[in-house]
Amino acid sequence: MYYLGIDIGSVSTDFVVLNKDLEVEDHLYLNTQGLPMKAVQEGLKLLKDKYLNEAINAVGTTGSGRKIIATVVGADSVKNEITAHAVAALHINPSVKTILEIGGQDSKIIILKDGIVTDFAMNTVCAAGTGSFLDRQAQRLGIPINQLGDYALKANNVVRIAGRCAVFAESDMIHKQQMGYDTPSIVKGLCDALVRNYLSNIAKGKDISAPIFFQGGVAANKGIKNAFEEALHTQVLVPEHYNVMGAIGAAILAKEALERSGGTTKFKGFDLEAAHLSTRGFECSDCSNQCEVIVIEENGVIIGYYGDRCGKWLHSVKMPS
């Protein structure tokens, strides 16, 4: 008896298999590389040998690709990242009050009270404080991304980097390099700038109180964790499965959804890896809305539509039972 959660993000596609006690049995962290379908097929292929189709009791998706992938895999629940992250964190620690989440291209803060999400914010116009930016800077400095945090901890100087905009931050870093600062100090300055930007932008006016969870791919970076602790003067906890929390939440939500409806899973099985999946888009011109409709095909057969506001295309597909 297992629950499968899939988080299709901009940078990574994560898979989590939970057992009946909702403990993490298996987890995968794959690069999306702009091809979510391929990443999902890859993940299912890796899990295929370990689990039987019948052993999967519920499937949930989350992340920016949640809707398209839900059609492809036959998901029982399709939920946004905020809800998924909150559910996962609450599962680990029911008393959690703040969740700081920094992913590939978005960052969010979730405020909880008595185990309920009471407030949240998500970056809107700028991605300066997210994982993609760190990725790029690590590359530029010639440091593997997973060692970036360790570099920051070795810093002995305080370097202030302009963190408002990713492009200007980069210019500022180059300037500091030219001035002769050592790489660890610059990396630390970068971490501080990212945290400063996060706290003054997304977390502005939010009541941040302990226990604080820090999750998402960027939580692997000890430099950022430290910078958060210094800025907030309190301990920041990084949960064990920090990088797949969204997928854990999706799996729990799928279990809840099926328990509530009393139905059985719509999961199409692990054999999907052999199928030929493709998506294409077209602009519907039947009314002035001009929706961009996405067509999802499996082996040349249309299995779903997505993006039409009136639901005309969506309802034209009969789901095979």
Binding site: S64, K79, N80, E81, I82, T83, D114, G115, I116, V117, T118, D119, F120, M122, T124, V125, G205, C287, S288, N289, Q290, R309, C310, G311
Partner: protein
């Protein structure tokens, strides 16, 4: 003369009825869409409000379909809307479109306003009595359409057959624009209003209820608000919207007597007691009314740079923390990504649902 008007919510239905009854040639532009916005953005200053750009796009699409006279209202004072007409007139000329403007200026005295109305009327061969009747029909149509929309959007939370309210609303819009007879249009609307009564509803359901507040044009126009009301309808949430064309008409008529939107102003008094431009007070008032009526939350939508709503935003934040009443603010413009918008609305409704479920247990 072929007249046209910019879109503003359901107003086009009333105006279509009016022109049909008066026997004036007219073009109703396609409902605001990406093409209209792209056209508007191309010819507008970058930092102007989104409604301005959409209206300009509407004009151009109408001119392409044969319109030569644009009718627009100018209400000086509350916000930049008062300046729209004169600026748009210049921009159209600059872009190489020739069209005459009839500006109904409500603030420079009754005389100017009546002159504009007379100008429109002079193109109709109807008698004064018939003209009055046409106006009455138009007002009836507009208020019927608004009432149908409000009722269906509220009922969607209680419907027994999923999607029925949305389908009925869609077919109402489709049916009413088919006819070119003013009387038939009103008849069609009346029959749709009647058919709401026979919708199978389940009052034992306890749907989430959300008030849609914010800038008047943006929340009334589905394209501007990223179809937020339709999205909420799809997931079975009842919504109410504070400002509609009917409300605007009533508000404008009653304003000289200071009898306009009394309930919203009274409700808003706790936080704001004077007009701060635009409909700041109405936004705040409606949020407080929704809270008192037991709504689960409110969503404020406004275009980038809308000063009256920017003023309302921190007040709403205060209300939200004072009364523990969740309010989500969404700011839209031509750069808004739809997916991000939908995610935020979805996360908000999830939050409301989980808050409430916990309360029951």
């Amino acid at each position: 003369m072929t007249v046209t008007v910019p879109h503003y919510g359901n107003s086009f239905i009333g105006l279509k009825v009016l022109f049909d009854a008066l026997g004036i040639n007219y073009v109703i532009p396609p409902r605001s869409n990406q093409t209209a916005l792209d056209l508007g953005v191309l010819h507008s200053p970058e930092e102007i409000c989104n409604p301005f750009k959409l209206m300009l796009g509407n004009y151009i699409q109408s001119i392409e379909r044969g319109a030569d006279t644009i009718i627009i209202i100018a209400t000086n004072g509350p916000c930049r809307f008062g300046e729209y007409a004169s600026l748009q007139q210049r921009l159209l000329k600059k872009a190489g479109y020739s069209a005459q403007f009839i500006i109904l200026n409500t603030q420079s005295g009754k005389k100017a306003l009546f002159e504009g109305i007379k100008k429109i009327g002079s193109h109709s061969s109807c008698s004064t009595f018939q003209k009055m009747k046409a106006l009455l029909l138009a007002i009836t149509a507009i208020s019927l359409m608004d009432r149908i929309e409000i009722k269906l959007r509220y009922c969607s939370g209680y419907e027994k057959n999923k999607g029925e309210c949305k389908r009925l609303l869609q077919s109402c819009y489709e049916a009413v624009v088919q006819t070119n007879s003013a009387k038939d249009a009103v008849k069609i609307l009346k029959s749709f209003k009647h058919s709401i009564k026979s919708l199978p509803l389940d009052y034992n359901k306890k749907p989430l209820k959300i008030a849609i507040i914010g800038e008047i044009y943006t929340i009334s126009d589905p394209f501007s608000s990223n179809h937020i009301e339709d999205q909420l309808m799809d997931i079975g949430i009842s919504t109410t919207r504070s400002l509609t064309p009917t409300w605007w008409l009533k508000d404008s008529v009653l304003k000289p007597f200071k009898l306009n939107s009394l309930s919203m102003h009274r409700a808003a008094k706790e936080y704001i007691y004077t007009c701060a431009g635009g409909y700041t007070r109405e936004t705040v008032g409606k949020a407080l009314l929704a809270f008192k009526k037991g709504y689960d939350g409110a969503i404020q939508v406004f275009p980038v740079g809308c000063t009256p709503e920017v003023i309302a935003k921190p007040i709403l934040e205060k209300i939200s923390s004072d009364k523990s009443f969740p309010i989500l603010t969404l700011i839209v413009d031509e750069m808004t990504g739809e997916e991000g918008f939908i995610t935020r609305v979805e996360a908000f409704t999830d939050m409301l649902e989980r808050r409430r479920e916990k309360c029951i247990i």
